[in-house]
Amino acid sequence: MKQWTKHDARSSQTVEADQFNEQHKSFRSQMTGLDRAQYPENCVVPGNLVGNAAHKVWVFAPWDTGVANALGEQTALRSAAADTRGDQWMAGTYINHTSGWVTVFETTLAPFKGGNLMVEWAGNSAIQQFFHWTTNARWAPPVRSHPNDKYMALRILVNGVVLTERLGPAKPIDHFIVSGAQQLPSGPVTLTCQMNPTGAGPDDAVVDDSGSENHLMQAHLFSNRVVAIGRWR
């Protein structure tokens, strides 16, 4: 329903809650507060905004620091050096992961004042791509081989709810950007980044044949950045 002015915010006038609410209530089903067009001219300039008054940006560089020998690598599901071939990463392997979502990065965004949250997760990934054909899948006829696609699904969750989910990189070495945005109420926001690399197929090698049976890499993330932008007013 159409509404007309209940409170005309003018220069030099007290920022009065009752007046604001009067207008706010009349628009309750339509918008959240005074429209910028209802402010006095030049009412909101950098001079009268404190930091984070209207928005906040968080930048995370997971695994850059804080973990010994991390070197920009994921620390979740990382095999020990002793299990790993010398020419491969200390990565997630078929031995320490079979299937399912694994949290690789989690943090709390605060203060979040309610409004729009945009999250962008960018990085590089490596996945084991050599065994991408199989003949022994249950559904596969015996004489023909079939695709055994390997990829690494990625998703971002806010407060435990999926914000965005992608099939993810499907090349041995690839880069990715996953992003999503959502309106959220005020309060701390738990931001979670998860990966789900494809499990081993029936014909896949999971260890090498060197005799020591070093674990082969399944998937690996490196050089990641997570940027979150909260906008409110």
Binding site: S12, T14, V50
Partner: protein, 706 residues
């Protein structure tokens, strides 16, 4: 030296006669009552009905003044709110469903002269009746409508139609009954070639089952040959359920000659088509050779032309209505209308100006020929009708009557012959007060009733602003408009003054203050009330004032501007109204003792770093003794409250308005009477004030000798 103090805790309404009540004000112009403090707030203004500046005045840009306005409510929550208005000789429906903004022209209407009241609207169920004393009364059904782009001329045609019946239905056309010839093989008569039907039903049980169910008339007589005489009449049923007068009859006669016996017949009539709004046609007929009509059947459309009277006599329904039960619209030039006790009341218009007609209850198009009240002729013409509790108030040129009772036993009584209202659109009821209306000599309220021993009282309430009301252009008083708004609990009355032919001064009665204020700069032509209680008005000049000037519908709101204008093709809001407050002339208890006023302390609710501009006067002089005392509406002895433009978002907190005393020293020499005034275009909340003065007891010298 500490002086004496006169304290006015909450300012009152205007009082122009002197000496004044200390609480009263000499002038309250462009203020409203602040709900939080019951003080005066200058937060008034008006804005476009369509707030979007990009649309400028569309779709009203070409319309001259809006002559009349009505807002119909049909569903809770403001859904199906329909705005009807007249401008430039046309009646419009403003279609705004789904963000549309389309003017639907419902047809031409006479533009009221400056001395005539504009159209009167009355909502009855989902219909709206419109009368203006010149054109035929209309009945409008503003819902449902297709999408704006689909409002074709055909759709418009279905929205509006004339009220009532212009005449009885045309006589139905009787087709000849072609009887059978009883030969060895039964066949149609060869001699009938058109305008005849032969609907026959054997009467012998050996021929068909249930031989007596269909057809009518004698199949044979005691001595062989027999003649059948029947008559048929029809009525129209409108979409309001109203039934028209009976048509002239269509007569049938057929003879069954000896030797051709054994068949009944169903005669056929050609039905007339009804006027716009006809949903069905009802057929009546007599018994053989008689004159009383009985219901035969309803034809539930307005399309079919042939009707076969197959129904046997023993299957007929109720008796047809009498000639008194429905007649042509008795008031084809009705000026005013109202809904009361489920009946539609119309005045008789110019030709029968002291008569009111009422419809059958629930059937607003159907008027019985005896359903009218002839009012005492000394009251003059009916000028307004208003339903109020258990009464219908009839405003007349020279008095006020009231109708009580219920259909058909309505009776009229005279309330007064001393007060009259000639402005039907100024009448509105105010909660807890009564019915407000503009009379020729002021504003009155009608309160009370006639039930349970109560009496009607006509009380003058406009006396405190009589000087303003005397400015009324009397000949144009019928153009005055008034409406109560629950949003500001105020009765808004706009009247033409100082020779203007259209409303130019607003006078407002504030229920919370039990007092008056005035409004200037609001170009009200006519008033309506929206679902939310906002007062909507039609512009009093519109495009008459020139291309690009304000036109169309506006809403009174808290915006701090008076409308707007188009500058370089861009909509620009207007300047805020100037609000004036002038206190009463205070004599501090004794006018002959001279006083020295030292301070005026205004009790204001803080509104920020806006300027209070005070001036003061003495002894009824027009020139101020001192002026330009400028103070901020901030707490005088505490930190300034943050204001827009300088408040730091996320650091400063939202504020509450605080009641603070702002003490203003005034340099006033001795006076008998004192008053002060405030003039502002800023947001000010004036709650009360104190005046501090001293007196050495000096008395005014003796009057000048002649």
């Amino acid at each position: 030296m500490k002086g004496q103090t006169l304290q006015i805790r909450v300012v009152g309404g205007m009082q122009q006669d002197v000496p004044q009540d200390p609480k009263a004000a000499s002038l309250i112009e462009n203020w409203t009552v602040d709900r939080a403090s019951t003080g005066l707030s200058s937060r008034v203004g008006y804005e476009k009905y369509r707030p979007n500046p990009a649309v400028q005045w569309a779709p009203f840009q070409a319309l001259p003044r809006i002559d009349s306005l009505f807002v119909a409510q049909q569903l809770p929550g403001g859904a199906r709110q329909s705005i009807l208005f007249e401008s430039g000789g046309a009646l419009y429906l403003f279609y705004e469903v789904g963000q549309a903004a389309t003017l639907v022209n419902l047809g031409g209407r006479k533009v009221p002269s400056n001395t005539e009241a504009s159209s009167v609207y009355c909502q009855v169920g989902d219909r709206i009746v419109v009368t203006n004393g010149q054109d035929a009364p209309l009945i409008i059904n503003p819902w449902p409508l297709p999408r704006a782009s689909g409002i074709s001329a055909t759709v418009v045609d279905q929205i509006v139609r004339p009220l009532g019946f212009a005449g009885p239905p045309p006589q139905p056309n009787a087709l000849e009954v072609a009887t059978l010839e009883s030969t060895s093989t039964v066949g149609s008569a060869a001699s009938f070639s058109g305008n005849a039907t032969s609907n026959w039903y054997p009467t012998n049980g050996n021929a068909i089952n249930y031989p007596n169910l269909f057809g009518h008339g004698y199949a044979d007589g005691t001595d062989g040959a027999v003649t059948n005489d029947y008559r048929y009449k029809v009525t129209f049923l409108l979409d309001t359920g109203s039934e028209s007068p009976l048509s002239e009859s269509a007569a049938f006669r057929w003879t069954i000659s000896n030797g051709h016996l054994g068949f009944r017949y169903a005669p056929t009539i050609r039905l007339p088509l009804g006027p716009k709004g006809t949903k069905a046609r009802r057929v009546y007929r007599t018994l053989e050779g008689e004159s009383t009509y009985y219901f035969v059947a309803d034809v539930r459309n307005n399309v079919e032309e042939l009707f076969h009277g197959f129904r046997a006599t023993n299957a007929l329904g109720f008796e047809a209505p009498s000639a008194e039960d429905s007649t042509v619209l008795p008031a084809p030039r009705a000026r005013v209308c109202a809904s009361f006790k489920d009946c539609l009341f119309l005045d008789g218009g110019a030709n029968e100006s002291d008569t009111v007609f009422f419809s059958k209850p629930g059937f607003i198009d159907q008027f019985g020929s005896t359903d009218y009240i002839r009012l005492p002729s000394d009251g003059g013409a009916v000028t307004g009708l208003y339903s109020y509790y258990n009464n219908l108030i009839i405003f007349r040129e020279n008095g006020v009557d009231v109708v009580t009772g219920s259909y058909p036993n309505f009776t009229a009584q005279t309330v007064t012959r001393q007060v009259a209202c000639r402005a039907p659109n100024s009448v509105d009821s105010v909660p807890g007060m009564g019915v407000f209306f503009l009379a020729q000599d002021g504003v009155y309220i009608l309160k009370g009733g006639l039930d349970g021993g109560a009496v009607f009282q006509v009380v003058e309430i406009g006396q405190p602003i009589d000087r303003e009301l005397r400015r009324l252009t009397e000949e144009c008083a019928p153009r005055a408009v008034g409406k109560y708004s629950p949003l500001d609990r105020t009765y808004h009355l706009y009247l033409p003054v100082d020779g203007d032919d259209r409303p130019s001064l607003g006078v407002l009665y504030h229920v919370e203050k039990q007092g008056w204020s005035i409004r200037t700069g609001f170009p009200v032509g006519c008033l309506g009330r929206l679902h939310g209680g906002e007062i909507i008005f039609g512009h009093n000049t519109g495009a008459e004032a020139g291309q690009g000037t304000e036109a169309g519908l506006f809403v009174m709101s808290a915006i701090r501007s008076l409308g707007g204008s188009i500058q370089d093709d861009v909509y620009v809001t207007g300047p805020p109204p100037i609000s004036h407050y002038q206190s009463a002339w205070h004599d501090f208890g004794d006018a002959q003792t001279k006083k020295q006023v030292q301070y005026v302390t205004l009790w204001v609710a803080t509104t920020g770093s806006v300027t209070l501009n005070l001036k003061h006067y003495k002894d009824f002089e027009h020139e101020a003794v001192g002026q330009n005392y400028k103070y901020l509406a901030q707490p005088p002895d505490a930190k300034d409250q943050p204001v827009y433009d300088s408040a730091i978002t996320d650091l400063d907190t939202w504020q509450e308005s605080r009641l603070v005393p702002i003490r203003i020293p005034v340099a006033q020499q001795s006076c008998s009477w004192f008053k002060f005034g405030i003039e502002t275009a800023d947001d000010i909340l004036l709650v009360g004030y104190e005046i501090e003065y001293t007196s050495r007891g000096t008395q005014v010298i003796a009057g000048k000798t002649a």
